[in-house]
Symmetry: C2
Subunit: 408 residues, 2 copies
Amino acid sequence: MVQARVLVAQGGGPTAVINQSLVGVVQAARRCLGVERIYGARHGVRGVVNEDFVDLARQTQVQLERVAATPGAALGSTRDKPDAAYCQRMLRVLQAHAISHFFYIGGNDSSDTARIVSEQAKAAGYPLVAVHIPKTIDNDLVGNDHTPGYASAARFVVQAFAGANLDNAALPGVYLGVVMGRHAGFLTAAAALARTRPDDGPHLVYLPERVFEIERFLADVQAVQQRLGRCVVAVSEGIHDAAGQPILAQLAAELERDAHGNVQLSGTGALADLLCEQIKSGLGLKRVRGDTFGYLQRSFLGCVSEVDQQEAREVGEKAVQFALDGDEHGQHEGSVAIQRVGDYAVDYRLLPLAAVAGKTRVMEDGLIAASGNDVSEGFVRYLRPLLGSSLPQAHGLRDHPVARLLGA
Amino acid sequence: MVQARVLVAQGGGPTAVINQSLVGVVQAARRCLGVERIYGARHGVRGVVNEDFVDLARQTQVQLERVAATPGAALGSTRDKPDAAYCQRMLRVLQAHAISHFFYIGGNDSSDTARIVSEQAKAAGYPLVAVHIPKTIDNDLVGNDHTPGYASAARFVVQAFAGANLDNAALPGVYLGVVMGRHAGFLTAAAALARTRPDDGPHLVYLPERVFEIERFLADVQAVQQRLGRCVVAVSEGIHDAAGQPILAQLAAELERDAHGNVQLSGTGALADLLCEQIKSGLGLKRVRGDTFGYLQRSFLGCVSEVDQQEAREVGEKAVQFALDGDEHGQHEGSVAIQRVGDYAVDYRLLPLAAVAGKTRVMEDGLIAASGNDVSEGFVRYLRPLLGSSLPQAHGLRDHPVARLLGA
């Protein structure tokens, strides 16, 4: 029987389901004989260096289930990226509390932190098992079919564009929504699943995996506008030109802003506003509106995929199983990864930390339409089962025109 | 028995429940003996002048119920504000189709349109009954306890701020959300109902009913930041200085932007961005993020209050009852208004069109905290029953700290 002291922490941007993974770890650890302590570090690795721990074993089951259903990061999170010295301080604290198993729930950066801490523990001869538990709305972890948190954020994007399409059909014009995802377009691509009928928006989808050209963009918008009298566009915040320069920086430079007006490259509504200006001035259209979905897409309370919830719970459970019992190859340490094994079913594997750490997955070519301004049918098939059930549906009146009496 | 030909149209910004009112009209009209036609005009009054009608009697009950549950405006909407000549053309079309009852679902502008059409019909000796059916997320119609569409938009704002508060607690900093409502702060005020525990955000709420002073605002944010290490702020897009000048215009002027950079006063992320810049430069804080909720708050598919749905349906039904049978004073024409008659129950009255048309309600003093940067308890009691049931709840871990072994 293993004598284990478990520490779990959450890193990076919160999601709708990161607390499911936390609760998955706690519940699985509770069921293991030999687990003497289940601690949580407050605000990720910073809670480790600051020795800021909470005793998760004292939480009631009722409260844990409530927390699991709550978005955000219940332990608190951090953007700290530990260097060697930082990790040394972490190790000192882990040793003082005789922590044997460290679970870090997070994205690329968190997997890299788990890797560094693991390496330093080995170098110091300290027996620590470090396991990374995947989480990111960007869906950009290599080795995973998809990542916990992505499906719920995708569902938000779907519901947002389905509603925006209805609004735009009622009051025609151009609507543009800017979606998170600096390097990977998965979340922006989700907008495509908002379509029910052939003329539904988004009519155009721009991803960071493709070069963005203003002229091409304006021609695309104009063509849709001429065909339908309106146009709904999904744009990734990470769109860039052929040289890799962000479009926001390019447009902002054209504005020749003075020293007072420094342009912030993210977390602002500037990209949507500047693209709308381009459409107005370039195409002479008047009713052009842009929204930047911002933090709502990762934090909105009450928009969640139950498939995402269940998988986020399972990666937490599987992390504890792997760490304490080992995987089929006898490995205890690594990064838990979701594998699709059916349509639709998943299984979990333990990948080496170095195989995931610090790497970024982007959308594979097969998921993007040849036109470069939309997703492929393959992407729709890929995402649909992840969104969960009871997705709200949009319905319109059937067309029964009344004959004119006064002539057209 | 009345021989009636009914025409219904939708005007202004779509909401989550405006189609409930449309279906309420159709269903009620179907039950009335003597109603020979139930037409809808596409895109509001524009559909009237263009003689662009659909036969709503041919819709199935199943489809009508689906449409009722869909946000947007199923008939299409318009921003047209008819003048006398426009109304003359409308009357000509109404007469050609022998329309006896005109129902216009919309806000202040739509009620004014109904008033003008009614007056011109009377002047022309044409027997038309015009009824305005209330709708606006701004909740700014006089004579109403609240308006259909407001509660669902308010629910979006509540869920958005509840989630933003959790995100902000996980990764502390300043978060600012800009909410719609140029003159009335009701929708921004809804953010206050996102709070569960004493330290929950939004910690500050700025309404257009109070003068906004940048210095006071920065001092407020600093005080919350010092107390909690974080701060969540709800801001109305309509905040203005003592002279009534929008704060966005004031901040934009300080930026001394050149001729290329015209500042748009609404429908952009500029106010959130500029206020964030003020906080960063004025208070020296680094992690400051701003979102502009934009169209999401009125169009998001799947965020709706069932109280709002039911009342939106009822105002449509009552409009037909009043128009065909008359109210208790024998009036047939007017604007349907929601009255609160219990905690919580409502009733419906028919107000004269001129009593509602073109007037704007703002938040009464009793609904705003004396501090001027929050709502009152009275507002919380006012809004709570409107939000509907099964509002998602946020829960955190209970505090069970682990004793430090290495010292602070």
